[in-house]
Symmetry: C2
Subunit: 347 residues, 2 copies
């Protein structure tokens, strides 16, 4: 069914030279005579010879691809623009090193299997938690790996944002606008793993919003949502049907922009004005946050830059054997129009 591959051998025979010479022609053209080079290339072209990248990899031990590992399906992972933005950042570095990116999702719900099978030079794991068994497998693979958005041991390469601080600042902003009854929509853990365990990022952000709310007469109402538009819509519907009598929620703090966009969509469908009827904030500053109206007030976390940092780190490790252990990015409050002021007598 498939033609027999033409190998370097065929070329060598046809050209009347050794395999080495052919190999040189492709990899170090300057080391052989122009005449022989041309001959080899002509024959290679006629025979439609293409070097087998796998065989090359076996000897060079360089695959030319970085694995991007995440604990969800590709379908799910890319429903949040966050990952695409991260990917852009990583890609902007990979291109400098002529490296591809291999998207590695769990196989048969087992991320360990995927890690074992992936032919890559290094892994960038996003959203992996240290308690996960994947970590052991990752270590066993004997190739470098770094983590994005994970709280890890000292000796593991990590790129992370100051999520707790970010959440703290964001909540302070909301409170300073006079809000007292505040819904917080947190991130539902990916169900592939221990469903009872929240992600480190989520924990950090909850810690931050809680710390900001502790001293005042502020009431936080916690909700939980899948990281998607639909999740946000569902959570919003719950919030608006559930608000306890007497106390009306005036603001929704979403621990992820994509959730906030879901809330926006719900509000649009229910003729709820933002920020007139309800204030909304997000977290991340994905590209869509500046496109909706009013613009979404959010904690920017420089996703693209985070990807670049991770990319730089990975290639530094690959090339020099080591790197800074941990990069921590500072978030930044982006004020757009989705947060309204509440006067005391409004309550």
């Amino acid at each position: 069914m498939k033609k027999k591959n033409v190998t370097i051998n065929n070329i060598a025979v046809a050209a009347g030279v050794s395999k080495t010479t052919v190999s040189f022609a492709f990899n170090y053209p300057e080391r052989i005579s122009k005449k022989i080079y041309d001959k080899i290339m002509r024959i290679a072209e006629n025979l439609e010879y293409v070097p087998n990248p796998i065989a090359r990899t076996l000897t060079t031990k360089k695959d030319g691809s970085i694995g991007l590992l995440f604990p969800q399906s590709i379908e799910k992972a890319f429903s949040n623009p966050y990952l695409a933005e991260l990917l852009r950042g990583i890609g902007s570095i990979c291109i400098e090193y002529d490296s591809a990116i291999t998207l590695v999702a769990p196989e048969q719900n087992d991320i360990g299997k995927a890690v074992r099978h992936a032919a890559v030079d290094a892994f960038i794991a996003v959203g992996l938690e240290e308690y996960m068994i994947t970590f052991q497998i990752l270590k066993a693979r004997q190739i470098p790996f770094i983590c994005i958005d994970a709280v890890t041991e000292e000796d593991i390469y990590t790129v992370i944002s100051e999520d707790e601080l970010g959440a703290y600042i964001l909540m302070n902003e909301v409170i300073s606008y006079g809000h007292r009854e505040i819904a917080v929509i947190s991130l539902k853990p990916s169900k592939i793993f221990v469903a009872t365990r929240n992600s480190a990022v989520n924990d950090l952000r909850i810690k931050g919003v809680s710390a900001a709310s502790v001293k005042k007469e502020v009431n936080l109402h916690f909700f939980n949502s899948d990281c998607s538009i639909e999740g946000g819509m569902d959570a919003a519907s719950l919030i608006f049907s559930n608000s306890s009598p007497g106390r009306k929620i005036t603001s929704i703090v979403c621990l992820s922009d994509i959730i906030a966009l879901g809330v926006y969509k719900y509000c649009a469908e229910h003729k709820l004005n933002i920020p007139g009827d309800i204030s909304v904030c997000g977290f991340d500053d994905i590209p869509g946050a500046s496109l909706v109206s009013p613009g979404l007030t959010t904690m920017r976390q420089f996703i693209y830059k985070k990807g670049r940092s991770a990319g730089k780190m990975v290639f530094e490790i690959l090339n020099t054997g080591t790197s800074i252990r941990r990069i921590c990015l500072k978030p930044e409050l982006v004020k757009r129009g989705s947060l309204g002021r509440i006067e005391i007598n409004d309550l």
Copy 2:
């Protein structure tokens, strides 16, 4: 700098069995005695042995990854949610076959190099044009490949939308709303290739909008934009500064949603009301199109489904050696609120 890898050999020696037996333990556990299996596994675990996927690939000739090929950098390609959506569709199929996806962008501006180097089982090429030399290289690689969004020879596997028809319908809709002076923002070709040649998709869409406008006293004003938010903003700025005296453009038809979102952003920044001051339509129906307000009227082209179709096709070829040659998806007009009605006396 890197530890010596522990190989199947080490395990065999340590366990006092042959390499074959160890290999069986990992691949056909049922064929060896439970006792030996356990022993091997225990030793493998202690030594932190992980089979080398590259070596495996060299013999099995299955890499476990599909290459997604595009003629731009990853950074650029993923700035349009279109690709992420396509990826989601492809990913939804790959997961069924335990396959990863390798993102293959040009190396040193040379997509051919990237094609040669990528260790993948098959390629899905998006936005490649047949006149490009890449096609020859793709063929030479002797692995299956299919094209998305390309006009190709008969015998090449292709998934495409009826872009011309879609553009025709869309433009008809705009005209039926009374618009007569219409700006069309088309897609600037990716500059990696012949810059003077437009993409097939773009050609088709232009053909469609033109065909719809030919009989009436409709004036099309053509502009050109990079497929990005920024591109859309720039084009909008040009349109609003350029509109010829006397004749005012009342509607902007963007041949891609992402461009339309850029136009939205420009309008928001310049206090231009959509559709009050200007009507806007898009093409594709990316997720963001339903998030902005007013919702973007656009030609939906079922991007996710397109990805799924491509994924199915590729695995069918891989598994059976062949498949349907060409899948053509029908687009669908999605009316939201961005298209306003023009009364004759408005003009």
